[in-house]
């Protein structure tokens, strides 16, 4: 899981059975104490593999939306909740966003995009690289660094500084820091429910590099199923995403586009291998 704190923006991304939305109230309270008020909110997630294991308020998207509506101030008057579908009911993208009138106008001029990649059914041999060697006594920091190097994660964005950690007995998280931009990878390698995610924030005119970055990501995990959600990306970038993943043998299965306040345009694309 990851947390990023910018002067006027905070991003929290957590897996497992964490109650992420319960962070909103203390967050708004601490921000208010230093003279800051919320003007935009975006909540996103894919389909849980084990939805029945999720605690309140994550028991359903409807519950999550109700909780968000109650937690945010009325000044965030532009609100929208939507489930973006794919060709499979097990793969959809859940989005809630809200913004104030002022932020709605300013955000439309933003040149920053985010890309959220979700991958399941990872290649078994590659997933084994995210298990700690039993009995080596290394800390999560040291094992994390070894995994970063052994898997080639350090080559995805070579200029990024990486903060990595491996969990006992398996699992891996890393944050990449590259100037004003971040990237992050989280891995759950257990066979039967293996999962990896990659997220990147960048400038919209960086389209050309997306091909190379996605190529590396796909080659590190070789997933059977993959979804890519891009927010505020150009049509050109969406095509780069599609082409880069198809070049790695995955087949483009669906593409859904929608508009959201405080987020702009979101494009949700899914891919599977031929054997699916």
């Amino acid at each position: 899981s990851s947390l990023f704190v910018y002067p006027t923006k905070i991003i929290i991304k957590t897996c497992g059975t964490t109650q992420l939305l319960k962070s909103i109230s203390p967050l708004l309270s601490h921000a208010h104490d230093i003279g800051l008020n919320v003007c935009g909110c975006r909540y996103t997630r894919g389909n849980f593999i084990f939805p029945k294991a999720q605690p309140f308020p994550h028991t359903s998207f409807k519950e999550e939306v109700m909780y968000l509506e109650e937690s945010l101030p009325n000044s965030l008057c532009y609100r929208k909740a939507s489930v973006m579908p794919s060709n499979k009911t097990t793969h959809s993208w859940h989005v809630y966003s809200a913004s104030t009138d002022e932020y709605h106008m300013v955000h439309h001029m933003s040149n920053v995009f985010t890309m959220e990649v979700c991958m399941t059914e990872l290649d078994r041999v590659l997933a084994r690289k995210f298990y700690q060697h039993s009995g080596n006594g290394n800390s999560g920091d040291i094992s994390g660094k070894e995994m970063t190097m052994a898997t080639g994660i350090n080559d995805i964005i070579p200029s990024a500084l990486i903060c990595d950690f491996s969990f006992d007995p398996c699992g891996y998280s890393m944050n990449g820091v590259n100037g004003v931009h971040y990237s992050t990878i989280h891995v759950t390698p257990e066979d039967g429910y293996s999962y990896a995610s990659f997220e990147l924030m960048g400038f919209t005119d960086d389209s050309d590099d997306i091909d190379r970055i996605l190529n590396k990501v796909v080659q590190i995990f070789r997933p059977s199923t993959m979804s890519v959600s891009t927010t505020c990306a150009s049509h050109d970038m969406s095509m780069h995403v599609k082409n880069a993943i198809e070049q790695n043998g995955l087949i483009h299965r669906s593409c859904t586009i929608d508009e959201f306040p405080a987020a702009g345009s979101i494009v949700f694309q899914t891919f599977t291998t031929r054997r699916k």
Binding site: S1, S2, L3, V5, Y6, P7, T8, K9, I10, I11, I12, T14, C15, T17, T18, Q19, L20, K22, S23, I24, P26, L27, L28, H30, A31, I34, G35, L36, N37, V38, C39, G40, C41, Y43, R45, F48, I49, F50, Q54, E102, Y103, T120, D141, G144, L161, C163, F165, G171, S173, N175, V177, V180, H186, V187, T188, G192, Y193, S194, Y195, A196
Partner: protein, 65 residues
């Protein structure tokens, strides 16, 4: 598929702020929150910080879970 296991799919929350805090204009703003305040926020989520890094633009934390 296994009957139950560790849920990999993440939930992601992004909040944007505005205000008249003078520290915001010199690249501080939310970054002036104390580590105790950050941990209090993470307590609500059931996470803790396991690793951290930052530069002149932002702070990045790797969390448990």
């Amino acid at each position: 598929m296994a009957q139950s296991g560790f849920e990999g799919f993440e939930k992601r929350l992004e909040l944007n702020f505005f205000g008249d805090d003078p520290m915001m204009n010199i690249g501080i703003g939310l970054r002036q929150l104390s580590f105790e305040s950050v941990q209090e926020i993470l307590d609500a989520v059931q996470c803790t910080v396991v690793s951290a890094m930052g530069n002149q633009y932002f702070d990045a934390y790797v969390l448990s879970e």
